[in-house]
């Protein structure tokens, strides 16, 4: 085991997978010599040469070329420099990657991983801070994975690369250096499609994912001292959802707080709420509550406005507290 940050865990997962399987290659903007603008691919060009490919500045081609290579039999890992800049590639991702297995009646398939840094709190303003998962959580054929810790980041990214279907892999850019933890230096994978129970609790259930898991854990720790016990479920895969884990977690305490750092309306938390409303409505002791960013286009640049937008540990803490007192 080694201490490393979320970024290091991702870099290690890429390196190990490229060593393990020569069909794995990386393509994206500035992923080569530069090692990516966040340095997620640092050192890989030096080790693997042309298997780390600087592409022209064109996301639809990055996705589309990746899809073609994946259908051929390679295992491409495409980097979108920021999740916000996946949007030119939406047609390739939704019309192609997601539908190829189905439309070809299982003749072709697309083992493509699309990595993209998402999320805010780093002065990235409107176009370097967005959460993109809610645009893709209604597209059968895709899987959407969002790790919440260095350990998960490594295990889930390796699983994504080995997955036989297209996986959108979102990495919280603020987590890159903020989150540190023990990460095994040997090979392991974590299951895609399964949520993880982060801690057992009795009073309030928090269901969340990504960086908010970290803030929820911090909030829970402080609340523990005031006698409030929090049950925390990390979705890890936000599409398709792990319904059973959600229902179990909701039933556990009967009070559910859903947290996302995306805008509220139409977020992936709407689906979690819907699952609960369908499956365990009568097990609840309080209305389902969603804590999310406000429904404005994206977070502003100026610090006070950015803060207004962000879902923080404090906001999560008050929300748990209120729910506990309900």
């Amino acid at each position: 085991m080694a201490m490393m940050n979320y970024l290091g865990a991702i870099n290690l997962a890429l390196k190990e997978e490229m060593e393990r399987d020569e069909k794995v290659f990386i393509l994206g903007e500035d992923v080569g010599k530069r090692g990516g603008v966040f340095l997620a691919t640092e050192g890989l060009y030096e080790q693997f040469g042309d298997r780390v490919l600087d592409t022209p500045l064109s996301e639809s081609a990055i996705a589309g070329v990746g899809i073609g290579a994946a259908m051929y039999g390679m295992r491409p890992v495409a980097e979108m420099q920021f999740a916000d800049f996946m949007l030119p590639a939406v047609n390739q991702i939704v019309s192609e990657a997601a539908k190829i297995r189905y439309r070809s009646n299982n003749d072709f398939h697309v083992p493509l991983t699309v990595r993209a840094p998402y999320g805010g709190g780093v002065h990235g303003a409107l176009y370097h801070s967005q959460s993109m998962e809610a645009m893709f959580n209604s597209i059968p054929g895709l899987k959407i994975v969002i790790p919440s810790s260095p350990y998960d980041a490594k295990g889930l990214l390796k699983a994504a690369i080995r997955d036989e279907d297209p996986v959108l892999f979102f990495e919280h850019k603020r987590a890159y250096r903020l989150l540190k933890g023990e990460v095994p230096e040997e090979d392991y994978t974590l299951p895609i499609g399964k949520a993880a129970l982060k801690q057992e609790g009795e009073d309030v259930t928090v269901i969340t994912y990504g960086l908010s898991v970290h803030f929820a854990e911090q909030a829970a720790k402080e609340l523990e001292e005031t006698g409030i016990s929090t049950h925390i479920l990390d979705l890890r895969t936000v599409y398709p959802m792990d319904r059973d884990a959600i229902v179990d977690a909701a039933k556990k305490t009967g009070k559910v707080l859903l947290v996302t750092d995306d805008n509220k309306e139409g977020s992936v938390m709407s689906e979690v709420a819907a699952i609960i409303a369908e499956e365990c409505l009568f097990d609840l002791d309080a209305p389902v509550e969603r804590l999310a960013a406000p429904d404005v286009p994206a977070m502003p640049y100026a610090s006070p406005l950015e803060k207004q937008f962000l879902v923080t540990k404090d906001k999560i803490q008050s929300a748990i507290q209120e729910l506990a007192e309900f």
Binding site: A63, G64, M71, Q92, R103, N105, D107, P140, D163
Partner: protein, 330 residues
């Protein structure tokens, strides 16, 4: 001319007769599909009529054992020359389980078969173009010498995906043949409302690749241009953009009404240059085809189509519940 044109190109008499047969087969299948549609037996037809010469000429230049094809919906003659059978086409048009492209899931014209190295396609235009680049990139990484031919209409060449893919292939010197079938219309929109350039080939320079425009009604001219592009591709000399100019002889599809936007006169004039007409004449002038042989070929193909139609009509649909399958690996 001392030697015949096809001999100069290295094509045997058998080769050109084979091309001729493919063209006739495609035309006759196409005509059958319209009949079936008008009879209410199949819901939709999209046609290759007018494109047979260029499609067969292009496919003839590829190596059916190693190259890849990433066609578009109008490429029936091309995919048939590359390996799809008459029955394959009829099964797809009847949307039966035996449709090799999709088991009846996709509309006709959405060709795909891993075994035939025809890569599955969709409806949004030009999404297949970057896929061709991806195949070519994979081949380069693995040291293979196959080429990938991808085709699209002139209207579709205005999509961003064409541009991004062409540029990618240009930068990385990938063996992709960008084959534009310019039939002068995109549904109702004439080429001059789609494009301001003289020829799609004018776009090649912007991607640092060779560009050439050929008469799409001449299968031999197309064969020649594609063969050169194949040669360049195999040698690692990069991609080529080829425009083949012809005309769409039918409405865009069975849902279209061409009378609202073009004159019957124009269509009539185009029919005189139809590759089926001109290539038949070429073969007859070269004494490779007699009237009797022509009749025999037509009859054989007609019988083949009748049988395929019967099979397809009688074949089973996929089970309704099978609609739930193959979303993910199972």
């Amino acid at each position: 001319m001392s030697a015949s044109k096809h001999a100069q190109l290295g094509l045997s008499d058998t080769d050109v007769l084979y091309m001729y047969e493919s063209m006739i087969r495609a035309r006759k299948v196409d005509e059958r599909l319209w009949l079936l549609n008008r009879a209410g037996k199949i819901p939709f037809v999209i046609s290759c009529q007018g494109h047979e010469g260029m499609q067969v000429g292009a496919a003839m230049a590829l190596d059916g054992k190693k190259d890849y094809l990433l066609p578009y919906y109008r490429d029936m003659a091309m995919v048939m020359h590359f390996g799809m059978t008459t029955e394959n086409i009829l099964m797809a048009n009847f949307a039966k389980a035996e449709d090799i492209s999709s088991g009846g899931r996709q509309m006709p014209g959405h060709y795909g078969s891993k075994a035939l190295r025809i890569v599955t396609g969709s409806s949004p235009v030009t999404t297949q173009v970057p896929h061709a680049v991806g195949y070519a990139l994979a081949g380069k990484m693995e040291g293979k010498d196959f080429v990938c031919l991808t085709s699209f209409g002139e209207g579709s060449s205005n999509q961003g995906d064409f541009h991004e893919a062409a540029n990618f292939a240009g930068v990385h010197d990938l063996p992709v043949i960008f084959f534009c079938e310019n039939n002068k219309y995109a549904i109702s929109t004439p080429a001059d409302r789609q494009l301001a350039c003289e020829s799609i080939a004018d776009r090649a320079a912007g991607y640092g690749m060779d560009g050439v425009s050929v008469d799409g009604n001449d299968p031999l001219a197309v064969y020649e241009a594609v063969s050169r592009a194949v040669e360049r591709g195999r040698k690692g000399e990069g991609p080529t953009l080829i425009e083949a100019v012809s005309y769409r002889l039918t409405a865009h599809s069975s849902d279209d009404n061409e009378l609202t936007y073009r004159e019957a006169e124009e269509v009539k004039a185009a029919k005189e240059k139809d590759s089926i007409v001109t290539f038949t004449k070429y073969l007859k002038d070269a004494k490779l085809l007699t009237d009797e042989q022509e009749e025999t070929i037509h009859k054989q193909i007609q019988t083949e189509i009748d049988e395929a139609t019967d099979h397809a009509e009688q074949a089973a649909y996929a089970d309704a519940e099978s609609a739930m399958l193959h979303v993910y690996d199972q």
